[in-house]
């Protein structure tokens, strides 16, 4: 198999500088291990990740320098495992992702409960290097592996009045102890318009960095919609429903003034309590300044037409 985009980039970094982040990471690992043993640092888990074989590597330009596997897997908003960004890495080992089923229901000709292994077998896996922009004004570049959401959904023959797609995360207070605290109305719900869901950029990820998804990143399957704030990209999906009405979405339900249904990345519409004009790129040094946020997170050319005639100041 030819080298994937992420492998190439790591090789390039190795040539460019004497000490790569990966190398530093290895050196530091010994130190970290002893710190963990002494109880100074919490141990981190990645669930049971395994290598993914035979996916089509990303061959387009990257939206930026890839974040390290360590950064991507240790800074997560996944309230099902706690509110701190380090909590998912610490506590998500309780999530058992095998076997896993996805229920497809609502306005479809092929409702049913489908086994994830079979779904993955049937799809052509590919790599997509996307920028993830969180509503909290930080971003990172992630090499996802998975398949197109639209191609996947079409197999279930959505009916003509299916205008929206709603997604649900697993609800299980033993496997997801964070759901015992009622910070959000569980299970986590998200939704897209049918046009958004069918857009070729919309993606279902089952892996990252050549491996299956670590639990903290939404194992075993999650949504990735790169032109929207990160919370739209729902994790650990167990149910997908086709509907004719705009579905409930968790953050919108929690605070409609702060989190809209669309939640497209938009530097011109501030969150009521912070600006969205600039973002911090994760993994940079202390003295690296923020960078300006791009409309639709830089994917405007591909997606702006979806919102023709819609006032994005009102439909944030």
């Amino acid at each position: 198999m030819s080298k994937t985009w992420s492998q190439k980039l790591r090789i390039k970094q190795f040539k460019d500088s004497e000490v790569t982040p990966e190398e530093l990471f290895d050196n530091r690992r010994a130190l970290l291990k002893s710190a963990v043993a002494l109880g100074l640092l919490p141990s981190r888990s990645y669930g049971h990740v395994t290598d993914i074989e035979g996916y089509r590597p990303w061959d387009q330009e990257s939206p930026g320098i890839l974040n390290s596997f360590e950064d991507i897997t240790n800074y997560n908003n996944f309230y099902e495992f706690g509110l701190d960004k380090a909590d998912p890495a610490r506590y998500s080992h309780t999530l058992e992702t095998h076997p896993w089923q996805i229920e497809i229901s609502g306005l479809t000709n092929k409702p049913g409960v489908y086994d994830l292994d079979e779904i993955i077998q049937s799809m052509q896996l590919e790599e997509r290097v996307y920028k993830l922009r969180c509503v909290e004004a930080w971003s990172m570049i992630v090499p996802w592996i998975g398949f197109s959401l639209g191609i996947f959904l079409k197999q279930f023959e959505p009916q003509t009045n299916a205008n929206y797609v709603q997604f649900f995360t697993l609800y299980d207070t033993d496997m997801m102890p964070g759901q015992r605290s009622r910070v959000l109305d569980w299970p986590y719900r998200e939704g897209l318009t049918m046009a958004e869901a069918m857009h070729p950029l919309s993606f279902l990820a089952t892996g990252l960095y050549g491996k299956t998804l670590p639990n903290q990143n939404g194992a075993p399957i999650r949504l990735v919609v790169p032109w929207k704030y990160g919370f739209k990209s729902i994790k650990s999906i167990v149910k997908i429903v086709f509907t004719d009405q705009k579905p409930l979405t968790s953050w919108n339900q929690a605070n409609a003034r702060e989190y809209g249904f669309y939640s497209n990345v938009n530097p011109n519409v501030s969150h009521p309590r912070w600006s969205q004009a600039y973002e911090r790129v994760l993994g940079q040094g202390f003295f690296t300044p923020r960078v300006p946020t791009e409309m639709f997170n830089g994917y405007g050319e591909q997606v702006a037409h979806l919102y023709d005639g819609l006032d994005l100041q009102i439909n944030y």
Partner: protein, 192 residues
Amino acid sequence: MLSIKLLKWIAFILSLLPLIILILGIINFINLGPNIVEEVLHRTGNTSLNLLMIVLLIPLMAKHSLFRNFLILSRMLGLFSFFYAALHLSVYLFIDRSMSILSIQDDFISRPYILAGMIAFISIIPLALTSFRRAQIRLKELWKKIHQLIYLGTASAIIHYIWQMKIDLSIPMLYLVGFLIILELKKGFRAT
């Protein structure tokens, strides 16, 4: 009972520890996570607030003979709190916003939590300026009045903390409850 000298040294080193951790993080010796600016901002803010709460607690603890000596720590811990607040503000201005006047102006006008933080910081400036013994002797009653500003400072800092949270208010609410209990206890002592 601990000797005063030893007590002071312990307090000094403990107060310096958060700064040492931050410096080690900034020079990449220890890993403070991928968003180091946010981490430093949060750690300096939390340390400053924790020290303010401790300074408020000390007179209550000192009622107990075991902690009588702790009174002499108030000044040092108060100054450390001011020091961390100044670091916190500097990180916000010079690092997080890179002195971007536009974005800071926007923050001051439209984000109440920044205003609350500013009130907190401004209220503890006079305390730091009059913290030395001579000021205390010279200002007498006025000194006591000035140092009542610690209540305004702590209250605004807690409001600042609450307003900057995304959704879960439980930790800043604990601070608020703690603060209200301290106020209540102080009232009780004054009445008797």
